[in-house]
Amino acid sequence: MGTTSNFRWPWQYDFPPFFTMQKNADTRFKQTEAWCSLILDYHNHHKLFRLRVTDVLASPLFYNKAIDRRLTKPDVIEILSILHKKGNIEWEDKEKTVCKVFWKTPAQWSDIIFKWVNQSGLNNTVCTLHEITNGPHSSDQEFYALDDQILMQAIQILQASGKAELMGTEGVKFFT
């Protein structure tokens, strides 16, 4: 996982009312937008791809111990449904207890990966999926340790636009 330290919380995080859902419509909008960004940034920084609602309620993300403020479960569900509309989360179950978090959408990942493929001269060679996300040449890349399912979605997008072709279950060939 990523380090809990050196994550830069936004100013809102230490602002007590941030954890009370505002009734004023304009302020409410600013608030939910800020929460959406925070959730994505937090998952990005810690390289987390999945969110379990019960777990996360007690985590620093939704509970700021220093100021003794927290979001309630209904609040979290409301914000997650906004993120869902934006395409940044996908519920894994009907009960909405767990979701996948796309701090980048699969389409965005596909762009980043394809760029890296070009820069590294890996076109027209066959790579394993594993070496893309866990190989020595990608250790400094954003997609390092990317979730397998998300990687697959990204590759499929490239495949659909003729930029790649899956080889079996483990390999992929990239074209120019």
């Binding site: 100013w11 230490d14 602002f15 007590p16 009312p17 941030f18 954890f19 009370t20 505002q22 009734k23 004023n24 304009d26 302020t27 600013k30 608030q31 003794d68 403020r69 927290r70």
Partner: protein, 255 residues
């Protein structure tokens, strides 16, 4: 004159005495006017000299005026004494040689930018100290030094342009309001109170300090919330509602 007096004296004492007095009065009046004329001449001459001295001074101390806020303020006060406004816009010695008019215009633009970019966060009010801090940051470390007085001066120039900037409160605790809309004495009073406790007030705080009626307190707090200047916090120790102002929160700390 003497000759006339001489002839008059031959006629008799009474008549000459009256005429003499009359003549003296006339002489005095004309001489009095002359005196005033001379004095006026001298004065306007002095003013002209003074004005040109001031211009010379300004030209010689151009750098000082540009770099040093205290010096700049004293120079402006000196100008005000003889009724010269170095900030008058338009062409002329002041704006061309000194570039002082442009200086405050430039500041004004930067201040407006800061107010606009911080508006989503603070609802259109910002502590003058924070505004000043952000201005310094925007201008960078190689730019001229700018004081809080310079900020006030620039804001007053903006006000003349009708851009709706208002200063609330006094001194270093002043708050700059950059949005249109009603903010009366009651609102200012609440902001002042909030400044003293890191940007927050409760209904009870207002009551204990100002002793207003509950409806009045509620009205003001609701208005400030509606304007987006205050956020509501209900997770408080005694379950009362607290009102927090982003503009006044953490000001003074390193934000």
């Amino acid at each position: 004159m003497g000759y006339i007096g001489g002839i008059q004296a031959k006629r008799g004492v009474g008549a000459s005495a009256i005429t003499k007095k009359k003549l003296e009065a006339v002489r005095y009046k004309e001489h009095g006017n002359e005196l005033a004329m001379i004095q006026l001449d001298q004065l306007s001459g002095q003013l002209e000299t003074f004005h040109s001295h001031l211009e010379k001074f300004a030209a010689n101390h151009k750098q000082e005026i540009r770099k040093n806020p205290q010096f700049r303020r004293q120079f402006q006060q000196m100008c005000a004494t003889i009724g010269v406004d170095p900030l008058a816009s338009g062409k002329g010695f002041w704006s061309e040689i000194l570039g002082v008019g442009d200086f405050y215009y430039e500041l004004g633009v930067q201040l407006v930018e800061i107010c606009i970019t911080t508006r989503p966060q603070n609802g259109g009010i910002i502590a003058i100290t924070e505004l000043h801090q952000k201005l310094m940051k925007t201008r960078g470390k190689y730019a001229q030094d700018v004081s809080i007085d310079d900020v006030r001066t620039a804001l007053s120039k903006l006000k003349l342009l009708g851009t709706g900037f208002t200063l609330l409160g006094t001194g270093l605790k002043q708050i700059v309001k950059s949005v249109p809309g009603e903010l009366n004495m009651d609102h200012s009073a609440i902001l002042e109170l909030a400044q003293k406790s890191n940007g927050k007030v409760s209904h009870a705080d207002v009551k204990s300090v100002y002793n207003w009626q509950p409806e009045r307190i509620q009205d003001v707090l609701e208005h400030l919330t509606k304007e987006g200047m205050a956020w509501v916090d209900t997770q408080t120790p005694k379950n009362e509602t607290w009102y927090w102002f982003p503009a006044l929160f953490g000001v003074g700390d390193n934000k």
